[in-house]
């Protein structure tokens, strides 16, 4: 029975070709003791893109590198850094691609302008539909 368990453990825990043999990083799957810090870390993790995945945040990914990045974020929050500082650090390494929340800048300004523009255009298109009230 134990032999079977060991064999199955080997099968299931066998690394995918992109995973190392070392255990996950310290804070990859461990929450910070202070709930407010953990909430900050979690909010940031949900907005940082996994570098080796097909479109996932590191908060939702099983990839080992995602775990390492989670550990990096939690460790730095524990050390007192702000989420924005950590985000900026990652962006300085990987460009805006690594954050799901790029800042307002010459590349992203159309995204900020579009919603209001769409509504204005819609209102303008619709204005002829209405008959003026008689009062």
């Amino acid at each position: 029975m134990r032999g079977l368990l060991a064999a199955l453990l080997l099968v299931v825990a066998a690394p995918a070709f992109a995973d190392s043999l070392l255990p996950p990083a310290e804070y990859a799957n461990r929450q910070l003791p202070d709930p407010r810090q953990e909430a900050q870390a979690k909010a940031l993790m949900e907005e940082i893109r996994c570098l080796v995945c097909q479109g996932q945040a590191i908060s939702d990914s099983d990839a080992e590198m995602a775990g390492d990045m989670r550990s990096l974020i939690r460790t730095r929050i524990l050390a007192g850094e702000s989420p924005e500082q950590i985000r900026a650090w990652l962006v300085s390494r990987y460009g805006n691609w690594v954050t799901y929340d790029p800042p307002l800048d010459p590349v992203t300004w159309p995204l900020w302008v579009l919603p209001g523009l769409l509504i204005l255009v819609g209102v303008w298109l619709a204005r002829k539909r209405f008959r003026r009230s008689k009062r």
Partner: protein, 175 residues
């Protein structure tokens, strides 16, 4: 006139969409994530030795000269493929320092014994801190870092025989 503009705008926007999407279909698919630090000083790091008898790796090399920093691991299957190319680079005079990511000394020693050992120094990056600090998104990747610690060139993925001349050229340019 205004009504015509309003009615033909959707068609125009659709044409724009088709152009963007055609680019997506026909441009060479590039899923790599390059480091944003190219041209900038590498972050300060000083890794302990990963194997006995070999020094560790720091952000500025001990002799103030440029070198190739190769990020690899024994568990990385493609890294085995680039071993001959690394040997070729070493033969051409490019000093190679290795950063072993999330590796154990015994596995590393076995890897080097099996696939060759072009490294003059190997640093142990067991928690990926330095890899992330350099803006590297996977293994294998190689950086040309010059004597003052500035990152001059990045090669993502396996170094194929066809890539060797470009890397040698980048090394020469960093001198």
């Amino acid at each position: 006139m205004r009504r015509r503009l309003v009615l033909w705008t959707p068609l125009f926007l659709f044409a724009l969409f088709v152009v963007v999407v055609a680019y997506g279909l026909y441009a060479p698919p590039d899923r790599t994530v390059p480091s944003a630090l190219i041209g900038q000083p590498a972050p300060v790091f000083d890794l302990p030795p990963a194997v006995q008898g070999r020094p560790g790796v720091a952000s500025i090399s001990g002799d103030g000269q440029p070198r190739l920093v190769n990020i690899f691991a024994s568990w990385c299957l493609p890294c085995r493929i680039e071993a001959p190319q690394l040997e070729e680079l070493r033969r051409r005079g490019v000093p190679i320092d290795g950063i072993a990511v999330r590796d154990r000394p015994e596995d590393l020693a076995a890897f080097l014994a099996t696939y060759g050992d072009p490294f003059r120094a190997i640093g142990a990056d067991t928690d990926r801190r330095v890899q992330l600090a350099l803006g590297s998104a996977g293994v294998p990747e190689s950086f040309i870092i010059d004597g003052r610690g500035v990152i001059r060139h990045q090669h993502i993925g396996v170094i194929n025989p066809a890539d060797v001349p470009a890397i040698v050229a980048a090394y020469e340019a960093a001198r």
